[in-house]
Symmetry: C2
Subunit: 350 residues, 2 copies
């Protein structure tokens, strides 16, 4: 596939800096809200391959994006492991019976992704049929640390006292859980690759709440385990992107992963990130900009990021995938998305 996103990840020439947006299939699009309403619930939308395919395609139809990401949620993995998942409107995800200790961890089911997450694989297969031939498909999973946060806290958390209780007081029990999740995630991602995804992204959304030592021991280690399991299963060339929100301080450690690209949030200057790794960088516009500004401001802010990067990268836009620093917000204006894509492509045209 001759595609600029895959070219950048494969160190091949690219005609401009490619761009996609985290959560690009989402509530900011009226057509998404319509399909979501048809599905009845967020979880139904994830589990219905036809509707999940439809919402994945919506931003691709509308915008000149360089990659597609399958519509799903990171929490389908713990659900497949036997946990009871709900999405409550305005409150986010909830597990009815959060993990309390070792017994609950031992009770988690090992997953068989081809069967337990068949709906994801079907979505991928649909998408490989229906996506334009030059648009690659990104598969993904949450990091074990991030999934464990939800599984132990039962939902979003302010201080993460439950998981940190295990981390500091019973690290062996937490490692047992993280290991079990990491194996499930690796198997899940391998099945995604078999089903046809062209790239894998790991979302370590909550790695940034840790100290450096704890990040290495409880998050990075399991990202490494997953990537190594994928590589040693024969998928040596599939591009892998690892994104730790709040991980700007740890880029030199994340860079040791056998991944191809590192996602960064908007709090780290790309020029500084470039000093710490030779890998492809992915980021990092503040997502709020798409909600509260216009084409003129987006131009200014994008140029700031690109110019900093250009100088730090020896006068070249190579090795960069443009993205937001986190998921696009429901309040983002679709016209601003179109403008952003236009601006990034034009400013970086080789």
């Amino acid at each position: 596939m001759n595609n600029n996103f895959l070219n950048i990840l494969g160190s091949k020439p690219s005609s401009y800096t490619p761009l996609w947006l985290m959560r690009q299939a989402g509530r900011y699009l009226p057509e998404y809200r319509e399909t979501r309403a048809k599905a009845g619930s967020f979880l139904n939308l994830c589990k219905n391959p036809d509707l999940a395919t439809e919402v994945t395609l919506q931003p691709i139809r509308r915008f000149n994006l360089d990659a597609s990401i399958m519509f799903s949620d990171i929490l389908v993995v713990p659900e497949a492991m036997g946990m009871n998942l709900h999405f409550i409107e305005g409150e986010g995800p909830k597990f009815d019976n959060p993990i309390k200790g070792q017994a609950d961890i031992l009770n988690l089911k090992p997953i068989n992704p081809i069967h337990d997450l068949a709906y994801v694989m079907q979505t991928i297969k649909n998408l490989k049929q229906e996506l334009p031939k030059n648009i690659p498909l990104i598969g993904f999973s949450g990091s074990p640390w991030t999934l464990a946060c939800y599984m132990l806290e039962g939902g979003a958390s302010k201080n993460y006292e439950k998981i940190k209780g295990f981390l500091y007081q019973s690290p062996d029990i937490l490692h047992l859980l993280l290991n079990k999740i990491a194996i499930a995630v690796a198997d899940y991602l391998i099945e995604q690759i078999k089903s046809g995804v062209d790239c894998i992204m790991l979302f370590d959304s909550w790695g940034g709440i840790l100290s450096e030592t704890a990040f290495k021991e409880f998050s990075l280690k399991y990202l490494d385990l997953i990537i190594n399991k994928i590589r040693s299963s024969g998928y040596t060339d599939i591009p892998i992107i690892s994104f730790t929100k709040g991980g700007g301080n740890w880029i030199e450690y994340i860079s040791q992963l056998n991944c191809n690209a590192i996602g960064v949030d908007w709090t780290i200057n790309l020029a500084k990130a470039r000093m710490k790794t030779d890998k492809v960088l992915q980021g990092n516009l503040d997502p709020v900009i798409l909600s509260v500004t216009d084409r003129e401001t987006i131009t200014k802010e994008v140029r700031k990021i690109l110019n900093d990067y250009y100088i730090s990268n020896n006068g070249s836009f190579d090795n960069l995938i443009f993205n937001l620093g986190h998921g696009i917000l429901p309040s983002a204006k679709p016209d601003n998305v179109a403008a952003l894509i236009d601006i990034v492509h034009n400013h970086t045209m080789r």
Copy 2:
């Protein structure tokens, strides 16, 4: 005053690494909860110098802390500027009429701290009478950026879309507000110094939600303005500590402030922080540890931090004030606080 906290800030010999805790007068103490109930509301507690003095003294009576911090809230400044403040149990602070634009900013009252914040000055005077003679008193304020977040959002916020709307779209209006707040904060802190505080701390609690460029332009600049105003008013020697939560990436910039110490949260390794500044560092134990662990774990975690620091600081514990990486949680166990102080003092005894 021969006190280890002030000695460290004044580059004088110290017999051990001094320690205090952000929000050390707080809900984790039963005696605080009792006084808080007596006051009726959180704001009443701030505004009643006798009760504010009492809760400031409570942790000093209980623990072998090396410094005291006056009990107050950062939002008393916007309240004195004319904004209507409430604290809603379980929801945090709310302003009834958040700032909507330039007209509201022009309507903010310039403050006369000796009059408008007389209750704070009275609390300081009480404390200087009642604190043990070897325990210094820290005064404080929120940073202009952090106060502006509350004043524009009206309370806690998830994505800060309102203030970022101004930041990206009407920066001049935001600068007008930040300037006005910075002048009020500087005057307020100067009055605190005149009333007797021995040290000033600036809490930039929300600086970490910004990009690097925006942090420099909208937060750091106003910290600098405040510190310069204090210094040029003749207070060249008063120790000043500046703390940006999530500011670990920007220590080299924060270090350019004319402050004496830099507070850091638990996500940055102190050894790395030490590479980026010669100033005193203050931090950085994960506050959750005091809630969910015991003496043994605290010993292990404290030693990790101190040993990393020691090696990076050329085999010395100098230039370090121990603290948490953020405020102590209501769930912290008082016995753990006592253990922490003991462990830090013993491990660093010269």
